[in-house]
């Protein structure tokens, strides 16, 4: 592509009035709009999964409550807090970038990466514990028709649980990769306080990732909370 600085073209109407032509180059609003559209697709994707989940919750209500009760709410809750704080650091990083504090901004991005890694670490601990209890994708407890099989609804619950938290985890990993790339772009001065669309969109992405978790957490961890504490 062209290395020359972009100069917008001028269109002239019949009275001689001039109008600046919007090119695809340096279109901040267009970049933002495109990314919002992309986030709509993510919402449709996770939305469809939540729809499936709701459907099976009505079919296997009690099994879902029982399965949810066995999840670790302390670790899940801790992760929720970690992710919310990481959303804060991400937002602060963007604010600092827009106000010209590139160094502070980079610090905040590193903090976000750190918190994301903490989230993944806790997730790994959780999944390992569940694996050791015999509950994991493909293990006999989650296959139908065996003596050690769990009830239908619990199989369904855990299947969806691993699928959705796994997909969410993939989004976190992609987010970490994108943040490292962002740091590289900042160091190369491709992302600057004047031209920060990449940073802006990544902050949007991160908001979506934590927003999805805000729905995942109550849906999986909290619906069975009453059971494990013996009611309220």
């Amino acid at each position: 592509m062209s290395d020359h600085p972009y100069v917008p073209e001028i269109a002239v109407d019949r009275e001689g009035n001039e109008y600046e032509v919007q090119g695809w180059q340096g279109d901040f609003f267009g970049g933002k709009f495109g990314f919002w559209l992309f986030m709509l697709t993510e919402i449709m994707m996770f939305g469809a999964m939540f729809m499936v989940l709701t459907y099976y919750f009505t079919l296997h209500h009690d099994d879902f409550i029982n399965a949810s009760a066995s999840l670790n709410r302390t670790l899940g809750g801790f992760n929720t807090v970690v992710l919310l704080i990481s959303a804060l650091t991400m937002g602060l990083g963007l604010l600092k970038m827009r106000h010209g504090d590139v160094k502070g901004s980079k610090l905040m991005i590193w903090a976000t990466i750190l918190l994301a890694l903490v989230f993944l670490g806790v997730k790994a601990v959780e999944w390992t514990a569940e694996y050791n209890h015999g509950i994991f994708l493909g293990l006999p407890a989650l296959q139908g028709g065996l003596p050690e099989s769990k009830p239908f609804g619990e199989i369904m619950f855990f299947g969806m649980y691993f699928t959705m938290t796994g997909l969410h985890g993939v989004h976190i990993i992609i987010g970490i990769g994108l943040m490292l790339w962002l740091l590289k772009r900042i160091n190369a001065e491709k992302v600057t306080p004047e031209h920060y669309i990449l940073h802006f969109n990544l902050a949007l992405y991160w908001d979506l990732v934590h927003l999805i978790w805000v729905f995942v957490f109550p849906y999986y961890y909290m619906i069975g909370a009453g059971l494990s504490t013996g009611g309220h």
């Binding site: 032509v21 695809w24 697709t41 099976y56 079919l59 009830p151 239908f152 369904m156 855990f158 299947g159």
Partner: protein, 561 residues
């Protein structure tokens, strides 16, 4: 001689500045070149799929098994469906003409994210390769080579698709990757249409093809993720047995059908809306008149997209749904016919008292009015619950679908190819050959599919490789029709390819059209389209005494009328 976008060096590249023509094509971000590459790849797959269809037709020419056994037949119709639907017709018109023409029509220099457009093309190619690997999965045991390809039909219905030994998961992954490419194309076009219209061009000054692409892009964006996640769930089910669609674990196989059709039904509107857009471009140009009811056509595109979301349940009338849900879905499906009917009346009203020129693009458009009307109206008959119970999974629905998609979408794609051929290549095709090819296709499609309506009504089920002797006559007429239509297709493509190589040079705007894509300084257009971006304070189809009302000096894009 000024340069066109096809000349060596006349492109921007995604990476670096390659010197050879080959790498300039592989790395190009120019929307016109990307559209041509899409077309080249798609038509290769199209002819492969046509060939598998021909194999099935030959097998069906007489009752009993002749040269395809049942398993191969199942694989053949799956291959035909997957190639035609996922590789050809869903990306089809948006990827080809959405790319080539849409930016030109709104006076833009390229799409909003040219690099993303390039990456999307290669994502599409990657998806095609994954689809092909699922085809070439050989299982060699004890010296015997087992040919292993999905045999589920292109709908991958659970639980069979998940229990079968064949290689359905790779096909699902391919469909998911192709879906991603579709989403990104839609996203790119939406931003382009919102942001890059020439100054002065409001939404109601856009050509109607752009409206079609716009409505399509929303469907691509909002519906495709649902099928993506459905396919991921099916993959999880297959490998980890999470039980979502497996009744033996408490799952619900009908849920798969719901999720699948939530995408795949809007997908047929995704195919047809840009095709209707092409029709709306061709009819006024070859009637030398302003289009009748511009706003109603534009808004009916939007409402077809909207209503199309709410009708998926009509695929499940025999799958197990409450009677109330069936009634509602049936009723909503009738609604789609209203905006479609509005479009048809608008096109016919445009021709009224027009100066109709029967060149090949117009012939294709007029032929489509006949074939799509048959396809669309038979769709209304099977939208009724009662008749659908009888006709579901018979040749009747096969005939309906092919009349609507081949006789609607593909015919209009061909119409667009004839219409924009001089724009894209700067050459004329042979008009006489094009007309012969059209008549072969038109006769062929009716011979091929009309007997299926009757056979289906009499009870011939779809997807069977054998049949009772009383259906023989219908299959044989179909078989003849298949030969006729294929000779028409071959003739048409021969005409295109030989004319591109050595056709007569076409001037700028040979049809005397009014839309902006024709007002380029050279034929074919140069790299960054128009010489200058015009100010648009006129409608897209303004004619005065059968001549375009708005005239430009093409070197400066100043109005000279």
């Amino acid at each position: 001689m000024s340069k066109s976008y096809l000349d060596l060096g006349e492109t921007h590249c995604a990476i670096g500045h390659p010197k050879t023509a080959f790498w300039q094509w592989m790395l190009t971000v120019d929307h016109k070149r990307i559209g041509i590459m899409y077309a080249a790849v798609m038509f290769v797959f199209f002819f492969v799929a046509v060939f598998t269809a021909l194999m099935m037709r030959i097998e069906l020419f007489a009752p009993g098994a002749q040269f395809l056994d049942g398993d191969t037949f199942n694989q053949a119709f799956t291959l035909h469906g997957v190639l035609m639907i996922f590789l050809f017709i869903i990306p089809g018109i948006p990827a080809i003409f959405g790319n080539i023409v849409m930016p030109l029509m709104i006076g833009a220099k390229d799409v909003s994210f040219p690099r993303l457009n390039w990456a999307t093309f290669w994502l599409y190619i990657f998806g095609c390769l994954v689809a092909l690997t699922s085809l070439f999965n050989f299982n060699i045991t004890e010296g015997e080579v087992l040919f292993n390809f999905a045999d589920t039909g292109w709908t991958f219905y659970a639980p069979y698709s998940l229990n079968t030994g064949t290689n359905v998961v790779t096909t699902l992954v391919a469909a998911f990757i192709l879906g991603m490419a579709s989403i990104l194309t839609g996203l790119n076009f939406l931003v382009t249409i919102h942001r890059l219209r020439a100054p002065g061009m409001g939404f109601f000054q856009m050509p109607l093809f752009v409206w079609g692409i716009y409505a399509t892009a929303w469907i691509q964006l909002l519906a495709t993720p649902v099928v993506g996640i459905t396919l991921i769930l099916a993959i999880m089910e297959k490998y980890f047995g999470i039980g979502i669609f497996d009744p033996s674990k408490g799952g619900d196989p009908v849920l798969f059908q719901h999720l699948f059709w939530i995408y795949s039904h809007p997908a047929v509107y995704l195919m047809i809306l840009p095709a209707f857009g092409i029709m709306s471009e061709i009819i006024p140009v070859f009637s030398r008149r302003e289009i009748f009811g511009y706003r109603t056509i534009a808004l009916s595109s939007a409402s077809i997209a909207g209503i199309g979301y709410l009708v998926w349940g009509h695929h499940l009338f025999t799958s197990g749904m409450s009677d109330l849900a069936k009634t509602i879905f049936s009723f909503l499906t009738f609604f789609v016919a209203i905006p479609t009917g509005i479009k048809f009346y608008d096109w016919i009203a445009t021709m009224y008292k027009g100066k109709i020129i029967l060149d090949s693009p117009m012939l294709w458009a007029l032929g489509t009015i006949v074939t799509f009307a048959i396809g669309g109206l038979t769709g209304v008959t099977i939208a009724m619950v009662g008749s659908d119970i009888h006709l579901q999974d018979t040749y009747y629905s096969v005939a309906h679908f092919h009349y609507a998609i081949l006789g609607g979408v593909v015919f209009l794609l061909f119409a667009g190819m004839h219409y924009w051929f001089p724009l894209v290549t700067g050459k004329f095709y042979k008009e006489s050959t094009a007309k012969v090819a059209f008549y072969l296709n038109f006769v062929g499609i009716n011979l091929l599919w009309f007997p299926m309506f009757i056979a289906g009504y009499l009870g011939m089920p779809r997807r069977y490789f054998d049949y009772l002797p009383e259906f023989e006559i219908y299959h044989q007429v179909s078989g003849v029709g298949a030969i006729v239509i294929i000779s028409g297709l071959v003739l048409m493509f021969y005409n295109f390819l030989s004319s591109w190589k050595s056709g007569e040079a076409a001037p700028v705007n040979p049809w005397g059209a009014t839309t902006l894509e024709w007002y380029t300084p050279t034929s074919p257009p140069p790299l960054e389209n128009h010489s200058k971006v015009p100010y648009v304070d006129f409608g897209p189809y303004e004619y005065h005494h059968a001549e375009p009302k708005v005239k430009f000096d093409l070197a400066t894009m100043k109005r000279i009328d």
